[in-house]
């Protein structure tokens, strides 16, 4: 069992796929792998996608690191093979937040340098 008191900053910077998955999972219900792939695509308006190899390797690692929990419900009505469902943990949320803060700080620098267009 992972300790919740671990410092989220220890895992920063996150791999891109890890950050995508943590955001795609949100605070809602648990999602299975394919649903996470679709959620990543949907939240980026199809600009970003995640391939199954990357997804499942990342999920295995995230389970080990305590960022997500894995479960296998008995009454899965989604069709297809028996699936594992993933849910973001509190620690996962804290890590996603820390990564977001890190990226925001970078964005502020970019904004200060007028990287988003507008009059120079």
């Amino acid at each position: 069992m992972r300790r919740l008191t671990r410092d989220p900053a220890e895992l920063l910077p996150l791999k891109h796929a890890t950050y995508q998955i943590l955001l795609a999972l949100g605070d809602g219900e648990a999602l299975h792998g394919y649903a996470i792939m679709q959620a990543v695509s949907a939240m980026t308006d199809g600009r970003e996608a995640i391939l199954p190899g990357t997804l499942y390797a990342a999920l295995a690692r995230m389970v080990d690191e305590g960022l997500v929990t894995e479960s296998t419900p008995k009454d899965d009505a989604s069709g297809g093979p028996p699936r594992r469902y993933y849910q973001r943990t509190k620690f996962g949320r804290a890590v996603a937040r820390a990564e977001s803060e890190r990226l925001r700080a970078l964005l502020e620098v970019a904004r200060a340098q007028n990287m988003f267009g507008g009059p120079r």
């Binding site: 792998g33 394919y34 190899g53 390797a57 297809g80 028996p82 699936r83 594992r84």
Partner: protein
């Protein structure tokens, strides 16, 4: 397409595939279904490549998780327990390695000290010595004043300076004169060294002017010791011989430039007036100019050297000027042979450590073999080879670490002892020499520890965890014994182990024994003699020829006066003079009339004449010398005043030789009336005392005196010439007391000399007993070190041979049991086993004896001359006995196995 993706998924580890492959394939199919045309193909390629890449990465990750960290605290705990379980083996291993590490670390410290290129001065690595090498005699030429004038044109070296050592009588008002070493040095030396005076000033160029006031700079230690740290020291005057000097400065603590000096007076000799290769011996030094390197300085010097050789070919044809790191001149590291020898010794000592570690590795391997079952079980339970090797390495690391800790302590103590012994023998050390344990030595010891741990731990571990480790699990059963294969490698090791021990041990034992048994005397009444070198202070400027004659007459008169006053003293029994101390005679090459010249050349510092001949030692003594030392003339007659005057007049003079010379040159036949001449002289034998190619007639034979000491199996014969005391400069005075400690006469002797004249210099006032005690202390230290090495090598070799023999025989225990069960004759079984054991041990002993004899030849065969016959077979017998004893236990166990038990195991 799905099939292709399925193949790509095989890059993932099994566990991952078992868990996720169905879902991954499902996700792949769904995504593929949502695409069409080229987009579909692009997706398949991307997904497959992605699966392979991430799969391989996941494999790596899981392997890392499975293996865990290379080392853990548990490894250290387990290793400590295992080492404690086998205290005998651990103790022997630690003892052996600590001796190896101590010797290697000690050698490293000495080599670092000798090879240091940086002085503890500002930018101390830029100071250089300029030396001149005579390629024809392979010796340094130190009469450099003529060359110095030419070297001043070199732009790569600035603040070029020159110095020479002079011994002067320091006369501080109200105190008896004391002989001190003074550096007569150019003012530029202080700029080259980059050090300012702590009080007052250093020497300045104006001090070198003829007629300038005589000034003196003193060292910090001298200021404390001789002047009680007097704050008003600057401006006071003291006498150096007959001249008064004003102290103008005190140098800071620790400063001893050019080497070990505490008094500095200005250089006043005019170098420009010197002819090539004439004048006094001097040292020349300077500082590399900004931007210059040793190489650029050397290039410039070489060019100057060529010009000098062209201008004066008679003197400079073979001289090669060299720019070397300053410190190297004092450790002879400017001579390539010395540097090579130091490197060779260091490598040899590390190899000794490696040899010791291999021995320990054999011991550890034999123990690892008994843990084969444990290793096989751990492998079966999933332990990786890396983990098991790491654990065995940790065990070795603890052994090596303990050895290193002991080694650091022993090195520190040993170096202190060595420094004390060396300081007693060599009273003056360059101020940068130190035998303290340095940080670099500790780092070196850490390196040695890791090397030792790698040899001791990793080699047996890799062998024990080899490919066959899995099969060993099948063979594990109670009473089956070890199944680890020893094979040819281990037979070879047994043979090599015995061979190396037999080859090296007798010689080392002989050396150690010789050093320890050194006599405390030289075979004469060393406890009754006080000796000193007597000279007169000649002042800083060379004397004119007329003054030389007056000087010689005054010197002869002084000696006569000293002798007269000493003979008047009731405590004194005998007074006599010689050129060299007994036992420190000067090396020369001798040729005897009618005796073939030896084929071998003399290996000594021969600077003039030939090396072809017999190396002998030469001394000039007053006619009463032998009677003063109670040395009887065993054949012919002793020396007379007539011999001394014949020598001076050019008539063939009579000489007395030692028994050893008679044996070496004349094969023990009486040499009376035979003639000898010198054909070569060494650096220390002054040309004015050794006339080459002049015949002398042997008139008497005396016993060897002093008696051979430690390694004096190699000592040479001696030739004694008669001389009048006044013709010796400087003469060595020997005073024999009637009773009591001769050292008590040292101060009265100094007072007596000072009362004759303030410029009488008494140097090296010592008793023969002290000199022998110092030499004895040094030899004891060497002997003890050798004894330590011998004991550890013997211990390790014995333990190694014992382990190997018992292990190889233990492997055959069941075979012995089965053969016994099948009715084989016990004697035949025993004969079979022991014939193999004896073959291995015998092969080792024979190889060892051959190697020992070979070593004898290489080392010129003198070292174990009388001992080889006894020591070699003794050590061989010891090793073979050990091997046989080691084999007896397992053989007896094998014979005791019940036949049914042996067969059931099969």
């Amino acid at each position: 397409m799905t099939r292709l993706y399925q193949l790509a998924l095989r890059a993932f580890p099994c566990r991952h595939r078992d868990l996720y492959s169905a879902e991954m394939l499902d996700a792949f199919d769904r995504e593929l279904g949502a695409r069409a045309g080229r987009d579909r193909l692009r997706f398949v390629c991307a997904a497959c490549l992605n699966a392979i890449g991430t799969g391989l990465a996941e494999r790596q990750r899981q392997r890392r998780i499975r293996q865990g960290p290379a080392f853990s605290a548990l490894d250290f705990t387990l290793a400590w327990r295992i080492l404690r379980r086998d205290p005998g083996l651990s103790l022997v291993s630690v003892l052996g390695m600590s001796v190896g590490i101590t010797i290697a670390a000690g050698a490293f410290t000495i080599a670092s000290m000798l090879m240091a290129t940086t002085l503890p001065l500002p930018e101390g690595d830029r100071l250089v010595s300029l030396v001149s090498w005579d390629a024809s005699t392979n010796n340094r030429e130190s009469r450099l004043l003529y060359d110095l004038e030419a070297w001043r044109h070199a732009t790569s070296v600035e603040h070029l300076g020159v110095s020479r050592d002079v011994q002067r009588n320091l006369i501080v008002d109200g105190r008896a004169p004391e002989v001190v070493l003074v550096a007569e040095i150019s003012a530029s030396a202080f700029r080259a060294a980059g050090v300012k005076a702590a009080r007052g000033r250093t020497l300045v160029p104006d001090d070198e002017r003829a007629g300038a006031p005589d000034v003196l700079v003193i060292g910090y230690d001298e200021w404390i010791r001789r002047f009680g740290a007097d704050p008003d020291i600057v401006g006071q005057s003291v006498g150096l011989g007959p001249t008064r000097y004003t102290i103008v400065g005190v140098m800071p603590e620790g400063f001893g430039f050019p080497a070990y000096h505490g008094f500095w007076i200005p250089w006043r000799l005019d170098a420009a007036a010197c002819a090539p290769r004439s004048g006094p011996s001097v040292s020349v030094f300077g500082r590399l100019a900004p931007g210059a390197t040793l190489e650029s300085a050397q290039a410039e010097l070489t060019a100057i050297g060529r010009r000098l050789a062209a201008a004066s070919p008679a003197t400079h044809e073979h001289l090669r000027p060299l720019a070397v790191p300053y410190a190297h001149v004092f450790s002879d590291m400017d001579e390539p042979e010395t540097a090579l020898a130091v490197y060779a010794v260091e490598i040899a000592i590390v190899l000794l450590l490696v040899l010791i570690c291999i021995n320990v590795a054999i011991l550890v391997y034999a123990r690892t073999a008994t843990r084969q079952g444990e290793i096989a079980v751990r492998v079966a339970l999933g332990a990786s080879r890396r983990r098991i090797v790491a654990q065995l390495f940790v065990e070795a690391l603890i052994l090596a670490g303990l050895s290193a800790a002991i080694g650091v302590g022993l090195t520190a103590v040993g170096l202190r002892q060595l420094e004390a012994a060396l300081l007693a023998l060599i009273p003056r050390w360059p101020f940068w020499f130190s035998l303290e344990l340095q940080t670099s030595t500790v780092v070196y010891i850490v390196g040695l520890t890791l090397l030792a741990a790698a040899i001791v731990g990793v080699a047996p571990a890799l062998k024990a965890t080899g490919r066959r480790v899995h099969t060993r699990l099948q063979t594990l059963s109670p009473g089956s014994g070890s199944r680890m294969q020893m094979g040819r490698l281990w037979t070879g090791l047994i043979v090599a182990q015995v061979a190396v021990t037999v080859a090296i041990l007798p010689m080392a034992t002989y050396f150690g024994w010789s050093a320890l048994r050194l006599q405390s005397g030289g075979g004469y009444a060393t406890g009754e003699f006080l000796s000193a070198s007597v000279s007169l202070d000649r002042g800083p400027v060379p004397l004119a020829e007329a003054d030389e004659q007056a000087f010689a007459a005054r010197y002869a008169g002084t000696l006569a006066e000293i002798e007269r006053r000493l003979r008047d003293d009731a405590r004194v029994r005998e007074v006599t003079f010689s050129l060299a101390k007994p036992g420190r005679e000067l090396a020369v090459v001798l040729e005897a009339e009618g005796v073939p010249v030896p084929v071998d050349t003399v290996d000594d510092n021969i600077v003039e004449g030939t090396r072809r001949g017999t190396l002998v030692r030469f001394n000039r003594v007053t006619p009463d010398f032998f009677s003063a030392f109670d040395v009887p003339v065993s054949l012919g007659r002793g020396l007379t005043a007539a011999d001394a005057s014949a020598d001076a007049a050019g008539v063939t003079p009579g000489v007395v030789v030692s028994r050893r010379l008679v044996d070496d040159v004349f094969g023990g036949v009486s040499p009376l009336g035979r003639r000898i001449k010198y054909v070569g002289r060494s650096r220390e034998a002054p040309a004015r005392h050794v006339a080459l190619e002049r015949w002398y007639e042997i008139v008497g034979v005396v016993p060897d005196f002093p008696l051979p000491g430690s390694f004096d199996d190699e000592s040479e014969g001696r030739v004694y010439h008669a001389v009048a005391a006044g013709d010796l400069y400087p003469a060595r005075l020997h005073v024999r007391v009637r009773a009591g400690d001769p050292a008590a006469l040292a101060d009265p002797l100094r007072d007596l000399s000072a009362s004759i004249a303030p410029d009488v210099l008494l140097l090296d006032v010592s008793t023969a007993g002290i000199a022998f005690t110092q030499e004895q202390a040094m030899m004891r230290l060497i002997g003890m070190s050798l004894a330590l090495v011998i004991v550890s090598v013997l211990l390790l070799s014995s333990a190694g041979i014992y382990s190997l023999m018992s292990f190889t025989v233990a492997r055959r225990r069941r075979e012995i049991g089965i053969r016994a069960a099948l009715g084989a004759n016990r004697h035949r079984i025993l004969a079979g086993i022991f014939s193999r054991v004896m073959a291995q041990l015998g092969a080792g002993a024979v190889l060892g004896v051959i190697a020992a004899v070979g070593l004898q030849q290489i080392l010129e065969g003198d070292m174990v001359r009388n001992y080889r016959a006894m020591l070699l077979p003794l050590v061989a017998l010891l090793m073979m006995t050990l091997g046989v004893i080691a084999a007896i236990g397992p053989v007896r166990q094998g014979l005791r196995i019940q036949p049914i038990e042996a067969l059931r195991d099969e």
